[in-house]
């Protein structure tokens, strides 16, 4: 180009020209480029224009969550392939977010506490999140019709455990329980979606539900449960979280439950706004009568407390509300919480907190603190009676000395149980333990709610001398005004809060009077520990049927094997030998024993638990030997239980402790079979009674192998398994000199 020459297209050296349909700049005659340069230049320009032309047009779409329209400042956009939702829409899923420094990604914390970093898209120059990425983490589905994107929650889990049916949805939904006829219950889950294949295969071990059907409705899903005679679903229990609803089974005679309501609606909606007044009115009217909606005594008691403190109705904060970058608590929650308080006012206080122990002296008067725990026996308004005053009190340091006995670190190194591996979650930093509250359900069930300022992964240990369950919370300061609580519960004599072993950690210790099964339910503000008497405890050995399952068998199913001095050692032979010893011990004690095989024959995987089910067995014990092949250092015994079944967990603990004690091998402890496989172990998954699979050692480890091949060792292991079984049924605690066990649950 020649300097100083003007052009008409605004770029130096170029003038406007027209080639075909596209206007391009062409060199003026004085600054011609060669043809070879012009072609690629034109190609680039055309490609860019083509891309521009072919870009999808952005169209605004209405966003509905669980059937309710979400009011948003910025509309969601659809580009023909992807729906983009504004960041503020995360509150509809009870999720919060924090932007990174460059503001090109959002760290999203979902209702269950899980985190995910999602890249921010900017369609229409507005920061938004691709819906497909949210759904990837949220277990949700959307449908796009007529300019409306309706997002529905999948049922994340549907499980029977103990006396409870627990349903967890991808994000909070109100689950309504209807009882059209006595033996048939319908659960309405508006805003839910899914085929329910896992739901329909859910097994009710106690056979309280004999039929489950699922139907899609315009609003969501309806699950119909056929109940066995004499059973009913009682209501949601205190362990409910905002995503998880727990329904308790009750046998005959059917009790009357008086519950108040703390329902969390899925989103701020115009519809909900208009209905809020009606909701409030309805909540008041239903107080004192049966109410199946979203009962959550934890929230209810919290509301009562705040009400008592301030004299006014304090809003129940939405989960995650107030966090960095999080949307503010929603007005609908506040309204419903208000409605709840209104409802609670008309219910007698003892009904509202039936069975719950007081929380702390600062928050409850002394008489309440000394109250004897009441069991929920079906009466609408149980009467609290005075009990013994708490004897333990003092500083945290005193508690640490007096309460905490031998710890994991003090146990024999060979018996140290390693931590279970769990998906990494963000640790609680600078958290505070603010409350510990016991709720006694009945003589067989209790719940301990540990309230913390931030969600945290907790470590659970079973300690001995005396037997206690210790819950460790890392990076957490104890700020409860009371440190010790007494209880007259049959299996729980007291509980204490204090500093943990590690500096800056907190520990809650539960004094156990007998063996319990436990399950941890993470909550937004801490953790709930469900304690229960394992199934079958208290029964006489002579009345029991125990199925003993020697692993593998036959010429093909040899199990793991190795060659020692030219001879092949097969797992199937070791397991059969131990099983025979165990059968003898059990039969000598009067137990009815069924063996899945008594010789070297092949038995199908489903036939093994099938034998137990067909004979209404009380317990299933499978015996195996583990193997890593390439790794020769792994050593020790493990007892697996299925999923998070409390009874099977207690059985596995009982056996694992005793096997480790006699084997002299490392104690790998009791572990969920979901740590191994997504589907768990086949024989445990199909078992309907307390069941465990004991890996007695590693064939790939020379020390383990030498022991496993020794008949004396096999007898010892059989004796230890027998002792574990007997202790389970007798509800006996582990011996004092047993090593501590440890398990991490997040």
């Amino acid at each position: 180009m020649l300097p100083g020459r003007a052009n008409t297209c605004g770029l130096p050296g170029f003038s406007k020209g027209r080639v075909g349909l596209v206007r391009i700049c062409a060199l003026r005659s004085g600054a011609r480029l060669r043809l070879g340069l012009r072609i690629p230049l034109a190609l680039i320009i055309i490609c860019a224009l083509q891309l521009r032309l072919s870009a999808k047009t952005l169209t605004p779409v209405k966003l509905k969550v669980a059937g309710h329209e979400v009011s948003l400042r910025n509309a969601s956009l659809f580009d023909g392939r992807e729906v983009y939702v504004p960041l503020e829409s995360l509150r509809a899923f009870y999720a919060t977010y924090a932007l990174n420094r460059r503001e090109d990604a959002a760290l999203v914390t979902f209702a269950d506490g899980s985190n995910s970093e999602i890249a921010i898209a900017r369609p229409g120059s507005k920061p938004m999140l691709p819906l497909s990425l949210i759904e990837l983490h949220l277990a949700a589905e959307h449908s796009l019709t007529s300019g409306t994107c309706d997002i529905r929650a999948k049922i994340v889990s549907f499980a029977f455990d103990g006396g409870t049916l627990r349903i967890t949805t991808a994000f909070p939904l109100p689950i309504q329980l209807k009882s059209p006829v006595p033996d048939r219950i319908v659960l309405e889950i508006p805003g839910a979606t899914g085929t329910g294949s896992n739901l329909l295969s859910a097994a009710d071990d106690a056979k309280r539900v004999n039929r489950i059907t699922l139907a899609k409705t315009a609003n969501g899903l309806e699950i119909e449960l056929g109940l066995a005679p004499g059973y009913e679903l009682r209501a949601e229990t205190a362990a409910s979280t905002n995503r998880s609803h727990a329904f308790e089974f009750a046998g005959s005679p059917k009790p009357v439950a008086v519950r108040a309501e703390t329902r969390i609606e899925p989103a701020v909606t115009k519809e909900a706004e208009s209905k809020s007044a009606a909701t409030r009115q309805k909540a008041v009217q239903t107080a004192g009568s049966l109410d199946w909606h979203g009962t959550n005594p934890w929230n209810a008691s919290r509301l009562l407390k705040s009400e008592a403190k301030s004299g006014n109705s304090e809003p129940n904060k939405a989960p995650g509300g107030g966090k960095t970058g999080a949307p503010a608590p929603r007005s609908e929650d506040r309204k419903i919480a208000d409605a709840t308080i209104s409802a609670l006012r008309s219910v007698p206080a003892q009904s509202r907190l039936a069975g719950a122990l007081p929380r702390s002296p600062a928050k409850n008067d002394e008489s309440k603190l000394r109250a004897k725990p009441q069991y929920n026996t079906g009466q609408a308004t149980p009467v609290q009676q005075p009990g013994k005053p708490g004897e333990r009190s003092g500083t945290v340091q005193q508690d640490v000395k007096s309460v905490y006995g031998p710890t994991q670190d003090e146990g024999p190194p060979t018996n140290a149980t390693p931590n279970e591996t769990h998906p990494a979650k963000p640790p609680a930093t600078g958290g505070r333990l603010t409350d510990v509250e016991l709720q006694t359900m009945d003589a067989f069930h209790a719940r301990l709610k540990i309230t913390t300022s931030a969600k945290a992964g907790v470590t659970v240990k079973l300690l001995s001398e005396p037997t206690r369950l210790a819950v460790d919370i890392p990076n957490c300061a104890v700020e409860t005004e009371q440190k010790d609580w007494e209880s007259e519960h049959p299996f729980l004599s007291g509980y204490h809060a204090g500093e943990g072993e590690k500096p800056g950690s907190a520990r809650v210790v539960i004094d156990l009077a007998k063996m319990v099964g436990y399950k941890l339910v993470p909550a937004q503000d801490g953790v709930v520990i469900n304690l229960t008497v394992p199934r079958g405890v208290g029964r006489k050995l002579q009345d029991l049927i125990v199925v003993v399952d020697p692993g593998h068998g036959g010429p093909k199913q040899t199990g793991c094997h190795t060659v020692v001095n030219g001879c092949t050692v097969y797992e199937k032979n070791i397991t059969l030998s131990i099983a025979r010893f165990l059968r003898q011990l059990l039969e000598d004690a009067g137990v009815n024993v069924l063996m899945t095989r008594t010789k070297d024959v092949e038995v199908g995987l489903s036939e093994r638990p099938g034998l137990a089910t067909d004979n209404n067995a009380d317990m299933f014990v499978s015996i195996h030997v583990d193997d890593y092949g390439f790794n020769t250092s792994a050593s020790g015994s493990t007892a697996y239980y299925h999923a998070d079944d409390e009874s099977s967990r207690a059985l596995a603990h009982s056996i694992a402790e005793r096997v480790a004690q006699v084997s002299g091998l490392p104690n790998r402890g009791a572990r969920s079979d979901h740590k191994l496989y997504t589907n768990g172990l086949a024989v445990l998954r199909a078992s309907t009674m307390p069941a465990t699979l004991v890996e007695t050692g590693y064939l790939s480890n020379s020390r383990d192998r030498k022991k496993l091949m020794d008949q004396g060792f096999q007898m010892k292991v059989a004796q230890a398994i027998f002792d574990g079984i007997r202790a389970y049924f007798e509800g006996a605690l582990p011996e004092d000199d047993l090593s501590p066990m440890k398990e991490i649950v997040r």
Binding site: L51, D626, F630
Partner: protein
Amino acid sequence: MRRFSIALLVIVVGCIAGYLVSSGGCGKPDDQAGPTGGRVKVSRPVTQGNEVVLKEENVEAPKDKDPVSAALAALFQTADDKSRPSAIPAGTKLLKVSVDGGIATVDVSEEFNALKNSGDSAESLAQNALRKALAQFSHVKKMLLKVNGKTFESEHTDWSEPIPVRDDDAVANGAP
């Protein structure tokens, strides 16, 4: 006239190139997002105290395969590397991979059957290594493993149904 022909040719070529780029015909579709740059993650067992855990490492993926096949091929290559332990039984070959409706069907050679007569720990490592390899691809939700076209008959767990490749999905499937 000559100039006009050249310009017309340029426009036609440009349009075709533009269409291919914008429609994804030249590249990977958006809904099959996964590792880029020819590198994938494979999991290898490593010993930590008395435990064996899977540790992910980045390796170069075979470039003549689609991304999912390349990631699995890289994993199965570890089975032939005798210098370090692999979660996949030695000699196992990847025969075929197809992804349909979010389910990756992985067909492998019969050497995989060696896991039948191994311990739970070893079989667990193999399953989780496969899951981790497939979890790199957002469009893969579950995996179904076949050995020479047949269901893998484990003596420990059920492989007959598609298995979620991510823990979140596993939870949705009923796991705690």
